[in-house]
Symmetry: C2
Subunit: 265 residues, 2 copies
């Protein structure tokens, strides 16, 4: 019997889209870089950025095979738009992407930034691999949600990541109230992300809706030289934002920087 390959979940740096990019070992362990360097089959969100990542890997640990010769498959577009778990899109056969592993080759799975399948596409491929009896190994690397949570000063013994908030203002206010109730009643820290260009709007909505004593942390640019995690009560945040008008205080993350928002007690 031919032995099957392994599916490696390969975390990528959090500097997607940043210029200049930081050195790879700012965020990735040597073992993760070396493993990436030897894999010749890849599944990714976007082939262009996966190749750009592998070019950076090659500069640190030479690729086993030339970049041009690698087998790089993209997840279908709908999967990276909508997430691929709850309700995988009709006609998407994740198992088909894993043929190389069934033929005995190791495969790498990457997303645009951070850990694949965590707040990012990939879980449908992992599910198909587990179902097919393919070994799945998640390598160590940056996970922005956890770096934000650790630096937040909030409870890290009980927490939930709830994804994006509704865009409609009334629904968003309602959802923020629900999350605050969960956080204050049960002590479960709530983590939220937003499309970067809505960072300022989300911070404003949070400060308008949350209670003054609720603790709010905003992390952005994690693992990057300009990274920061500011955390305080909502009361203090309101002062910061007022003062920010004259440039003296902390404010919302820039509108081009991915951010993580954490709230709790």
């Amino acid at each position: 019997m031919k032995s099957t390959g392994t599916l490696y979940l390969v975390p990528t740096p959090l500097d997607f889209g940043c210029t200049p990019q930081a050195p790879l070992d700012l965020a990735l362990p040597g073992d993760t870089i070396r493993t990436a360097a030897r894999l010749q089959h890849w599944i990714c969100e976007n082939a262009k950025s996966a190749r750009a990542f592998l070019k950076r890997v090659d500069a640190v640990a030479p690729l086993t095979a030339p970049l041009q010769s690698l087998n790089v498959s993209e997840l279908p577009h709908i999967v990276h738009k909508k997430g691929d778990h709850a309700g995988a899109p009709a006609g998407f056969d994740a198992a088909a992407l894993l043929k190389a592993a069934l033929d005995g080759h190791d495969i790498g799975l990457v997303s645009e930034a951070g850990m694949p399948a965590v707040a990012d596409p990939g879980s449908s491929v992992v599910r198909a691999a587990q179902t097919a009896g393919i070994t799945v190994v998640a390598l160590a690397g940056p996970v922005s949600l956890m770096q934000a949570l650790a630096a937040s000063g909030l409870n890290g013994q009980s927490f939930a990541f709830v994804g994006y908030l509704p865009q409609d203002a009334a629904e968003r206010t309602q959802r923020i109230r629900e999350l605050e109730a969960l956080a204050l009643r049960g002590g479960q820290t709530q983590l939220v992300i937003e499309t970067p260009y809505r960072n300022v709007a989300l911070l404003r909505a949070l400060l308008q809706t949350l209670q003054p004593n609720t603790w709010l942390a905003v992390a952005s640019g994690l693992t990057l030289p300009n990274g920061r995690t500011h955390a305080a009560t909502v009361r203090q945040w309101r002062q910061w934002v007022q003062q920010a008008a004259d440039g003296t205080a902390r404010q919302a993350p820039a509108n081009d920087t991915p951010a993580v928002f954490c709230l709790g007690r």
Copy 2:
């Protein structure tokens, strides 16, 4: 005005207690190792294991100051027994541990394994630092919860970490039912940990209580050569465990290996 130091949250390898220990760069980025090498003030769960970690760092990136001369402070015992967030123990003044940072020195915070303040003590110190205006930076490294989640094949766009389950059998069954309902109704993957010597008992309780179609992943030995994440429906798990009696199938993690259990739909 004297500028304050930074509080670095330094992730440590997940091989705590393992022999032989894996190379440090299996799990830690070069930047994390180099930052650890230059810090001369430390806050930790246990000074002995913090020094053992720094000895491993020294072998890769020479420490700026001799190990014996480092300033290493332990969190009080009650904090690492009970968690330090919800209800910090009376008389524990986390701010006092941060004096070096107020005096302009950078400080490192480590837990026994993985990311401090995530499923581990440390958040009270982070909270005190944020309150005092000390910059907090969480470095990249292994986070067992997220490596388990990524490899589980479960929804990573919505999840909760709920810590430990009750030890009392009836309460534990009740709690497992609650978590399954949350996971099946809302699609929120639920993550649970257990003291290693209760791994087998927890798996048994999960298989007795969960519905046959619920998806269950069990990750252990993450980042280590013998690491594995097995995932399947509860129905399939029941078969594996039955077959395990004759050594042919997948079974519970060893009773000395930390494990993460993930359930969902």
